[in-house]
């Protein structure tokens, strides 16, 4: 079975996923994702208009968050706090890899 380019979704800053896709792929509910957006830790590329789209790289952190939620029974407030820390760690690691 050959899988072509179109079947690959790149998880980076150039590609996007919709709110529906993010919920489906991360196993977080749309309500939980809405709360993360409202608390300002998850920022759609188009906050003001229509269906929300996010950089696909955020799926990496959101999936991690989903696993942590499941494995540690985390509540909605804690999810926001952890996502903020995960993003901070991701950015610091990115900076570190450039030095």
């Amino acid at each position: 079975m050959q899988i072509e380019h179109s079947e690959l979704l790149w998880l980076d800053e150039q590609h996007e996923v919709s709110l529906d896709q993010l919920a489906e792929l991360s196993a977080l509910t749309q309500e939980e994702l809405h709360q993360l957006v409202e608390s300002g830790v998850l920022i759609p590329n188009n906050l003001t208009g229509g269906i929300w789209y996010f950089n696909s790289h955020c799926l990496v952190s959101i999936r991690k968050l989903s696993r942590l939620k499941q494995d540690f029974d985390l509540d909605a407030n804690t999810l926001g706090l952890i996502l903020a820390f995960l993003e901070r760690i991701r950015m610091l690691e990115q900076q570190l890899s450039k030095t």
Binding site: Q2, I3, L8, L11, D12, R63, F72, S97
Partner: protein, 309 residues
């Protein structure tokens, strides 16, 4: 099937309460969770902890597990006849599955009402890291991915089924890049969606080049006279060697940029190659070389440590 002592994994006894089991799990999860711990062995350890907790936190699963009796960890065993964990009274072959598959299927099958039996169950996600050489990344390549997943066969028996598929890795990937192959994970049940497959790209170390995003770095070793007088030297790139002009008076640590000879980007452009100079001397100089260096030392007024004074 090999026995696993879930109580031992969580460091509890067979009489420990569910609350205490939860506490023990949380303590170990903080220590070994792969998203929290940097322990390289943490991921495997956490899988064992998670598997043990998933069974022992659930009253019915725990009772079914206890019915299996006590065995040393790793000992081959078969569940007793009429074991309550058998799905819908159907016998398992137990040949190709392990204890975690058994209890995962138990939650999907044994306790199901008519209604819940029809509930869609999504397939499991899988994640794999594949290592690719820089040459293959440069050209784009196809990787073959193999993994085994627990699946029900036509007789309704749970078996580990090998899956292999090929994925085309296009030009432009970066080290550590993650990709998603939708629907290539575990099979969903009762109309549930198939799981996804997450592919992590890791570059194999190269004998000459180091990678930083789309740029490449190479150590360019120079003799003292090449550095002092300037030279044109041949530098390898992934597209073949190029001639690089080293300016006179080049010091160690200078980065000489060779444009567009780095790794390809999504937009079909390329990163750059940086040759990082390093001035080296021979460990076995000839008599004549030593004499010439001595002569240079005698006439030179250059003091690189003037700022020490």
């Amino acid at each position: 099937m090999k026995f696993k002592d879930y109580y031992e994994t969580l460091g509890v006894t067979r009489t420990t309460s569910t609350d205490e089991i939860k506490k023990a799990y949380r303590k170990l999860a903080h220590q070994y969770h792969p998203d929290v711990s940097k322990d390289p062995a943490g991921e495997e350890k956490f899988k064992e902890i998670g598997e043990a907790y998933a069974t022992l936190k659930d009253k019915e699963k725990r009772a079914a597990y206890d019915e299996l009796g006590r065995h040393p960890t790793g000992e081959e065993f078969r569940p007793p006849p009429n074991w309550s964990g058998q799905q819908n009274g159907q016998a398992y072959s137990f040949d190709d599955i392990d204890l975690s598959d058994l209890f995962a299927s138990f939650s999907k099958g044994n306790r199901h009402t008519q209604q819940s039996r029809r509930m869609p169950i999504p397939g499991q996600d899988y994640e794999l890291t594949t290592q690719i050489s820089l040459e293959d990344v440069y050209e784009g390549t196809t990787v073959e991915l193999s993994f085994t997943v627990p699946e029900y066969d036509n007789q309704g028996q749970l078996k580990r089924v090998p899956h292999t598929f090929k994925a085309r890795i296009p030009k432009g990937v970066t080290n550590g890049q993650k990709m998603l192959l939708r629907g290539k994970g575990g099979k969903g049940a009762n109309g549930g969606k198939d799981g996804n497959f997450y592919l992590n790209i890791s570059f194999l170390p190269h004998r000459l080049f180091r990678v930083s995003n789309h740029d490449l770095y190479i150590d360019l070793l120079l003799t003292p006279w090449e550095a002092a007088l300037g030279a044109t030297v041949k530098v390898p790139t992934l597209q073949g060697a190029v001639n690089l002009k080293v300016p006179a008076g080049t010091n160690s640590g200078t980065k000489l940029r060779i444009g567009k000879r780095g790794m390809p980007k999504h937009n079909h452009e390329n990163g750059d190659l940086f040759a990082v100079t390093q001035i080296v001397v021979s460990a076995n100089p000839t008599e004549q070389e030593l004499a010439l260096f001595k002569q240079l030392a005698d006439v030179s007024t250059f003091n690189p440590r003037v700022h020490f004074e």
